[in-house]
């Protein structure tokens, strides 16, 4: 096989997608951003930004340095409103490609101002996912768009490879500085040092943080330093095989769950990118077969009911979590939001169950000696 063919196979055949699976992913992504990841979470944060004196406007090097201060609140209000509309358009699949791209651009625009107080948060995956997935044609099924003539439009899998490339490179950028910073030096326990910093300075003291601070075993913390670096740098190697990449995504969920339990940092935006690599075709097939079994509806109608049921389940799960979070029912001794804790813990449990099912399947398949 020539290099070009191998390259093509990597780009176009690493992942498989279906129109139905992508439709579920589109609905999940829209609701997840709308309820949990929309920049600023509410308009009050933009009210605060626009009220800040210009002394405290310090944008990072980049396009926002062209401005001298935060724009008036009306600019934020208009952008935020258009963002919500474009997210709804993405949800129902109305001019899906453009709605997805517009969503990404507006998130990027709003994030830029949030970071212009002197600190960039690394949440670029939030705009990246809708922009990249716009090219997967994820609006080709179960959407307003599909009512128009779109026979020539087929779902594309290469955006998943592209997103995998971005994640792998970005993970590498998290791991490489740690090597330079001395994380692999056996005489220093860097993860433990960060735990102390989060615990004492930022007062992130919930969940297992207190126990972790009291757990003084140098070998454990050193192994954690090594695991962190190898895991983050190793993402690059996982890029070349879909099954490896999915394994690393699973490990990433476990990694973020551990980080949340000890350091009270959830990295929720990353989960938006990880969820893309879930086997959405299988999710669709499972819900559809359950729909057929329980309702007896067959044929194309069962597909529609599958999507309604999926959307209903998501709303049923997401809305109460959001309600609890915005009403201030929060975890004490930390700034970790309750919805972050619930989502990350659920993802962790899901990965554990998935791993157990895989192990059981493997054991069953092994022939008796």
């Amino acid at each position: 096989m020539s290099y070009k063919e191998r390259f093509d196979r990597w780009i176009f055949n690493s992942f498989t997608v279906s129109a139905e699976g992508l439709a579920l992913l589109r609905i999940f992504t829209s609701l997840f951003i709308l309820l949990f990841l929309i920049p600023g979470m509410s308009m009050s944060h933009f009210g605060f930004l626009s009220s800040l004196p210009n002394d405290f406007y310090s944008p990072p090097p980049g396009p926002l340095r062209l401005l001298e201060g935060f724009p008036p609140l009306a600019v934020f209000q208009i952008s935020h409103t258009i963002l919500v509309i474009s997210l709804f358009a993405m949800l129902i699949g109305y001019h899906t490609k453009w709605a997805s791209i517009l969503t990404g651009i507006l998130i990027l625009f709003l994030q830029g101002f949030i970071y212009s107080i002197g600190k960039v948060n690394h949440e670029i995956v939030i705009p990246l996912v809708p922009v990249i997935m716009a090219f997967s044609n994820w609006g080709v099924a179960y959407s307003v768009d599909c009512r128009r003539k779109t026979d020539s439009i087929k779902p594309e899998s290469w955006p998943l490879t592209l997103l995998a490339l971005f994640i792998a490179v970005m993970m590498f950028t998290a791991g490489f500085p740690k090597i330079l910073g001395g994380w692999l030096d056996p005489s220093t326990q860097a993860a433990q040092g960060h735990l102390f910093n989060q615990f004492f300075i930022r007062e992130r003291q919930a969940l297992l943080a207190g126990r972790a601070v009291g757990f003084d075993h140098a070998l454990f913390w050193e192994l954690l330093d090594w695991f962190t670096v190898l895991f983050e740098v190793g993402f690059i190697m996982a890029l070349f095989k879909a099954s490896w990449f999915r394994l690393f995504v699973g490990l990433a969920v476990v990694f973020h769950f551990s980080t949340m339990m000890a350091l009270n940092i959830a990295f929720l935006p990353n989960f938006l990118a990880y969820v893309v690599f879930l086997n959405w075709d299988k999710v669709y097939a499972s819900i559809r077969s359950a729909t057929i079994k329980t309702s007896g509806i067959r044929g194309p109608k069962s597909g529609k009911w599958t999507v309604y049921l999926f959307t209903g389940i998501l709303m049923f799960l997401f809305l109460p979590i959001k309600w609890v979070s915005i009403n201030g029912y929060a975890l004490s001794q930390t700034d970790l939001m309750l919805h972050e804790f619930i989502v990350v813990t659920s993802a962790f449990l899901f990965i554990v169950i998935l791993a157990l099912v895989k192990v059981i399947e493997k054991i069953r398949k092994t022939p008796d000696k």
């Binding site: 004196p53 210009n54 405290f56 998290a174 500085p177 930022r202 992130r204």
Partner: protein, 158 residues
């Protein structure tokens, strides 16, 4: 998109992404981390000394004339609207060197004073930005603060 266009896009990104990482490193070293950039946080610092850990903390101490009334507060208390994840960067950018603090405009000072007054319950005449370096060591009972040294102090007069 045609296959050829997609292939070209991948080749371009395979070249661009490592290059942008290098640029982020260089610009970050001389100025600040650029944005937008396709990077995740490095957390490269290792807060370690001998057999313990060294942590730097900033405290905002406000007072009236002759220190008749005073109140110290952490940055997260003084700036409650700023997410905790952005507090260290905000403090480092605006309050870590004397020159930038003294250059804060009257509007900026009024905003700081009003924020501090809301928290302290009195209108301060001065604000001290104190940098403390704390040294922790591990004992059988957990982490214990060994000592805290004041490593910097900047004063704003209102």
């Amino acid at each position: 998109m045609s296959r050829k266009t997609v292939r070209t896009l991948f080749i371009a990104l395979l070249i661009y992404l490592p290059l942008q990482y290098a640029v982020v490193g260089i610009v970050g070293y001389y100025d600040a981390e650029p944005w937008p950039a396709f990077v995740f946080p490095g957390f490269k610092s290792v807060y370690v000394y001998d057999d313990g850990f060294e942590i730097t903390r900033t405290v905002f101490d406000v007072e009236t004339v002759h220190r008749q009334r005073s109140h110290d507060m952490s940055p997260q208390v003084l700036f409650p609207e700023i997410p905790l994840s952005q507090i260290p960067g905000f403090v480092r950018t605006h309050f870590s060197d004397d020159e930038s603090v003294q250059n804060i405009s009257e509007d900026g000072k009024a905003w700081l004073r009003s924020n501090a007054a809301d928290i302290a319950g009195f209108t301060p005449n001065a604000m001290h930005i104190i940098e403390l370096t704390e040294y922790y060591r591990q004992t059988g009972d957990g982490a214990v603060l060994d000592m805290a040294i004041e490593t910097g102090r900047i004063t704003i007069l209102f």
